[in-house]
């Protein structure tokens, strides 16, 4: 377990800790003071000083205990292993506190002689050793209670923060899902494809049939592909090919396509719909904006355990509307980060004046 996973102590919880410490020990002192005034025949000043000293020591020891417990991450232990640690720690701290209590004379609180008037029928016979053991047990019990309260408070706090994280996570997932759906179902493509099909029914019925089949395949892949699932590049290319076939029917000779994907690259796993998104962007922001269209090139290589996938399209002189491209790209980057962390990347290379290249880098082994 490393330190970054520990709940970070915020100033607020630090303050709450001190309020509890001072209130707890303070109340304890006051109640003992009250009892002592009634039972003991000791000047109250001396009593107060002794109590202050003993309880300050108790508080100090408990604070040291807290540091120790935090450094050794006791709150992460299972309950059984925690329990016997609590007992041992309580006695380790209870021993010096008990001895000091005995020495200061506060133990007179538990002195048989002073208790005699309250329980005249019971005989009290205590040696000094007995008295010290009683004081140590008393102090140890005090620390057991202290540690129980402490770990209960931590458990409550961690439970709350876990709940909060869970709801945050659920929300983030939901959001990602929504954005994914948005980027997948491209209504512009869908309705244009339907229009193309309608036109083909009269022009070329066989092609129209072909188009309907491909449209069905594209839609099925789009609607059923679960989020965050990896597919091989060759699986994704199948669907991209269907999509490109449909777009070719729409754009006719304005869309020219080149695919270079060697077998070793085709076997690499990539996030589902990622290449599809890149190709859609290339058509929407590149080919579709150019009166004479252009070449869409998809090329992949594997180098040093990385898949390098480039999608290239001609760039119109004044790139129109970049906002939607931003959503698609941002979405793709989010998914990459969730799946591969910092090992994958997606960059848009605009260094060439008339060509846009989307460069995807994904580790071969996920």
């Amino acid at each position: 377990m490393n330190d970054t996973e520990r709940p970070i102590t915020q100033p607020k919880s630090q303050r709450v800790y001190w309020i509890f410490q001072l209130m707890g020990w303070g109340l304890f002192s006051v109640s003992r003071f009250g009892a002592a005034i009634v039972v003991l025949d000791v000047p109250w000043m001396r009593l107060a000083l002794e109590l202050l000293f003993v309880d300050a020591m108790g508080l100090g020891l408990s604070h040291l205990l807290r540091d120790f417990v935090r450094r050794h991450h006791w709150s992460a232990l299972p309950l059984r292993r925690l329990s016997w640690r609590i007992v041992i720690a309580a006695f380790v701290l209870g021993t010096p506190l008990g001895i000091v209590t005995q020495i200061t004379g506060l133990s007179a609180l538990h002195d048989p002689a002073s208790l005699k008037p309250y329980a005249p029928n019971i005989s009290f016979q205590f040696s000094l050793f007995d008295s010290i053991v009683i004081e140590i047990v008393n102090s140890a019990l005090l620390y057991i209670i202290w540690l129980t309260i402490y770990f209960s408070a931590i458990a409550v706090r961690e439970h709350r923060s876990a709940q909060f994280k869970q709801s945050e996570l659920a929300r983030a997932l939901h959001l990602a899902e929504l954005r994914l759906l948005k980027s997948q179902l491209n209504p512009h493509f869908l309705f244009n494809a339907l229009n193309t099909v309608r036109s083909l029914i009269a022009d070329n019925p066989a092609r129209a049939q072909n188009a309907v089949t491909r449209l069905a395949k594209t839609l099925r892949y789009t609607l059923t592909s679960p989020q965050n699932e990896l597919v091989t590049l060759s699986q994704e290319l199948d669907i991209v090919a269907d999509y490109l076939e449909l777009e070719s029917m729409r754009f006719e000779d304005r869309l020219r396509i080149e695919l270079h994907v060697p077998d070793e690259a085709a076997a690499v796993h990539i996030p589902v719909m990622l290449l599809q998104t890149l190709v859609e962007n290339a058509i929407k922001h590149g080919i579709a904006q150019l009166p004479s269209g252009g070449l869409l090139r998809v090329s992949a290589t594997v180098q040093n355990g990385m898949l390098m996938l480039d999608v290239e399209n001609p760039r119109p002189p004044a790139p129109a509307v970049t906002a939607q491209e931003g959503v698609g790209l941002q979405n793709a980057r989010d998914r990459l980060r969730l799946l591969f962390g910092a090992r994958a990347s997606l960059e848009l290379d605009l260094s060439h004046p008339s060509v846009t290249t989307a460069r995807l880098r994904i580790p071969v082994k996920p």
Binding site: P187, H188, L190, F191, N192, L194, N195, T196, V197, R198, S199, L200, A202, D203, M249, R250, F251, E252, R254, A288, Q289, L290, P291, G293, P316
Partner: protein, 234 residues
């Protein structure tokens, strides 16, 4: 009625052509696949009706309209941008969603036929209205409502109501198509609408100062001031 189809997708053009075969009174005089080509063809073929796609390479359907001197009737055809058309401030225009429903096409064409006081645009005719785009907003601006046209480089700034949209053409070119009974060249940079003149005051050096209703004061240069006096018989 002469019509033109402007769409970058050949299958979409073919489909529309096929649908329009059911309306013999609509004669398709040309097809264009992008804005540049379309602008040229509209000027030479002078169609009375455009079937206009919105998303096209090299500029949108709106861009085409801003480039035309004389905008014919327009029916937008679009696969998914109906929101773009709805945002459009002109109710005179209709739109059809692709794939086009034959019944909706018949409806739209019926409206075109009824609304049209069958005006056949001629290249030298006086302009009644002008299509203006300012950011996301588009208007058909009736020129009689324009107070002032000011030249700003290669653009014209229109003073129209509360709006001051820019028009992407030169003042000198537009001047020839303005109604000479309504518009007057005040100086090298400005043309004023005579209907909007509130007062005229004499200035130094034979210049005049015309105060426009809702608008700025415009200086009439010395040379133009003489013309102005003759025209207004003062």
């Amino acid at each position: 009625m002469k019509a033109m189809i402007i769409d970058d997708e050949p299958p979409a053009r073919r489909e529309l052509r096929r649908l329009l075969a059911g309306f013999p009174w609509v004669e398709i005089v040309g097809e264009a696949g992008n804005v540049d080509q379309a602008a040229e063809m509209v000027e030479t073929l002078t169609p009375e009706l455009l079937f206009l796609d919105i998303q096209m390479p090299g500029g949108s359907g709106f861009d085409l309209l801003t480039r035309l001197d004389d905008v014919p009737q327009v029916i937008f055809t679009t696969a998914y941008d109906e929101h773009a058309v709805r945002a459009f401030k002109v109710d005179a225009l209709d739109y059809l969603l692709k794939p086009i429903e034959p019944a909706r096409l018949a409806e739209a064409l019926g409206r075109v036929r009824n609304s049209q006081a069958a005006r056949t645009p001629r290249p030298d005719a006086i302009l009644e209205q002008i299509f203006v785009r300012d950011g996301d907003r588009c208007w058909f601006v009736p020129l009689r409502e324009v107070r002032l046209l000011s030249s700003e480089g290669n653009y014209i700034r229109l003073s129209w109501g509360k709006a001051n949209p820019l028009l992407g053409r030169a003042l000198a070119a537009l001047e020839q198509r303005l109604d000479p009974n309504r518009f007057f060249r005040a100086n090298r940079r400005q043309i004023i609408n005579l209907d909007f003149i509130e007062t005229v005051e004499l200035g130094v050096n034979g210049r005049l100062h015309a105060q426009l209703r809702e608008g700025p004061e415009v200086e009439i240069s010395r040379r133009q001031a003489r013309l102005f006096k003759t025209k207004m018989s003062i």
